[in-house]
Each structure stands twice: as C-alpha cells, then as structure tokens.
Symmetry: C2
Subunit: 213 residues, 2 copies
C-alpha cells in the first residue's frame, strides 16, 4: 500500500480567480479542492482529505456541492472562463495590428498562468476526470481560445507580417510555452510576472519572424 498520508506534500496557498464569486465555507471548500487537486490530482484526493483541509466534516461538503465531480467542474469552469475572458478582452483592446494582437494574447496568457498556477494545473491536467457533459463547456472555451490565437497568427501571416515555418505548429508552440509556466515559474526566482510575460511576448514574436509593434 502507498503510504501517501505519511509523505504529505506542502500545499501552500491557492487562489481562485476574482471572477469566481464564492463566500464563506463554499469558498473554503473551493480553495481546498484547488490546492488538493493541483497537488495530488482529482482522483488522488478524497473528500475526507478535502474536508480536513477545509476544516469541515465530509458530509458538510455536500451541502455546497452535490458531488466531488461537480466540485471539480466548478473549478474547471471558472478557470476556463477567466482565461477566455482575459484573452478576449486583451484582443479587443489591442487594435488591428497582428503583432499588437499577438503581444496582447501572449501577455495575458502568460500572466494568467503565472498568477493562478494551481487553477491552470487543475484545468489542464484534470479535465479527463470530468464526464463528457461536464467537460463540454470547458472544451468549447478551450477551442475558442486556441482559435483566437490561430486566427491572429493566420491573419498576420496572410498580411505578410508573420513568417512562421508552420502556422498551426507555431500557434500550438506559443500556447504551449504559457501552459507550462505554472510548472516551473516561481516569483521567488526574482523574475516578476510582468517581466516573464514580456519575455514570452518577445519569444513568440521571434517565433513568427515578426517585429515588435
């Protein structure tokens, strides 16, 4: 038997996005779930552990969420919505220049992943634990977010401003850089989130052969 309980990871803080309105114990439960799911995975975390972290009895969880899966679904939904809203807003404010649009998308993409690392990890790693029905809204937002980036890359390429070796792969690679940020970046390295975002913007523009707007 695995004696995971004796090798408990330090869980640290875990912050929910501002868009997620939740108070009192409902919020405590969501934060506890975020910490646990990010550190141990959905299937690797039990409702008993969750209750312990939230300082409640297991049965009290079910007053706020009908099931463990619905709890995960709420986190995943909030994460996808916060991410997609941030991307869409950034793009709207970026004007019509492809390089400015790409800059805006990469900046906010990286910023979100560095600011809410646990949420990003849960959203990206634990979606397979959701039923198709519960995963569908998140999957849709994910496809839309990917399309936002691909459209910017495609448009810039068509306009003769970007020169990617392959537009699809380049878009995937740009997204990938940001997606991995929560797994390695720590503010304690001395690099600020804003600087991290600017570095990624520069890398992305270089990948596309663009010049800074």
């Amino acid at each position: 038997m695995n004696v995971r309980s004796s090798a408990k990871k330090s869980l640290g803080r875990a912050s929910l996005p501002p868009s997620l309105r939740a108070e009192g114990n409902r919020r405590r439960i969501l934060e506890a779930a975020l910490r646990l799911f990010a550190a141990q995975g959905f299937h690797g975390s039990s409702m008993r552990e969750l209750a312990a972290v939230a300082e409640l009895q297991p049965s009290a969880l079910y007053v706020h969420f009908p099931s463990k899966e619905q709890l995960l679904a709420e986190l995943v939904r909030a994460g996808h919505e916060a991410h997609h809203d941030a991307l869409r807003t950034a793009l709207l404010e970026a004007g019509s220049d492809p390089a400015a649009q790409l800059t805006a998308l990469v900046r906010v993409h990286v910023r979100m992943h560095a600011s809410y690392p646990e949420l990003a990890i849960v959203v990206n790693s634990e979606m397979a634990a959701l039923s198709e029905e519960l995963a569908a809204p998140g999957m849709a937002l994910r496809r839309q977010a990917a399309a936002l980036l691909r459209d910017v890359v495609d448009r810039g390429t068509a306009m003769g401003k970007f020169f990617p070796p392959d537009a699809y792969a380049a878009a995937a690679a740009i997204a990938a850089m940001g997606l991995r940020v929560p797994y390695w970046y720590s503010a304690e390295t001395g690099m600020s989130i804003e600087r991290l975002a600017e570095v990624h913007v520069e890398l992305a523009l270089r990948m596309l052969g663009a010049v800074r707007a």
Copy 2:
C-alpha cells in the same frame, strides 16, 4: 456517482520505448498500464481495469509487479531513461557549435514526445503519484535533461551566438514546446514527425536569435 465505465474512452495503441525489455504478459501489462494511465491517470485507473485490458485476472498482475505504484514507477523510469539517453546521444553527435547542439536537442526532444505520446503524458503528468523514493531517479534525470538544454543555451549566449531575452526562460519555453506535443500533435494531420521536429528546431533557433547551423 460518476458513470465513467459507460463513457469509456477509446484507448488506442500505446508503445513502449525499444529500450524497455519486457516480454509476454509482463509486456502486455506494461502496455495496458501505459494506455490506461495516459488516458485516465494513475489514480483514475484501477488494477481491475488494468487486468481487463491486459486480459488477465487482477491477481495475475502481482506476479509481475509487486504493486500498482511499482508498475507506474517502471513506466516512469523507462520513459525518463529513454528520453535522457536520446538527448545525451544526440548532443554527443552534434559537435561543438551551439546552434548544432540546440538543433540536435530540440529535434530528439520533439521526436521522442511525438513518437511516444502516451509515455510522455504518463511521465509528465503522473509522477506526483509516486512516493518520493520512487520518484527520485526520474526527477534526477529530469533535472539533468533540463541542465543539458540550459547549458547549451548559456554557452551559446556566452559565445555571442544566441541572444535570448532571458536564457532561463527561453530554455524553459523551448522544453515546453516539446512537452506539449503529445497533447495536440497527431500524424493524421499530415505533418510527419520529422517535419514537426524541424519546425520546432526553427522555432527554437528563432527564440534564441540564432542562425541555422
């Protein structure tokens, strides 16, 4: 309750690296575990499911592996070793030019992740399920692999051949591109693995401001 059994994912093939010597039912079990762990995660897959996929009774699994965790550890070990060996060999054959070294590393990094996507997913996503002792060898190889890349980037930068906005972040971003490949790339898109690797080489060289060797 989740009715996952009624929404079973199609699991597809799952190939072990050539370096992993295993035959007969031991191999079948490893392949079944690779498929299941990649699709549902370690904690999301039961020994009963595993036995069913391997077409054995659950008790037969324990003749070949002492525990579920040891089974995962074997996959994770094989994956890390294959990856690290490939990187090291590629670097040895690349000569002394930083751009050539980077090209070799990125090429093999991407090739491995595209050729063994399930293994890459398990290695990257399920290591938290291992005890510290069982995870340690893999973590060590991972650190060494990251150091190989960072050293090439640092040396090329010191030699005035690379011009990254930030060497550490650039190395992390280059690694990240490859790590995400298993999650989006499919040979059915029409792009070959070799072409995918070359595209990533080009992207990485651009990120560093280098010229092709």
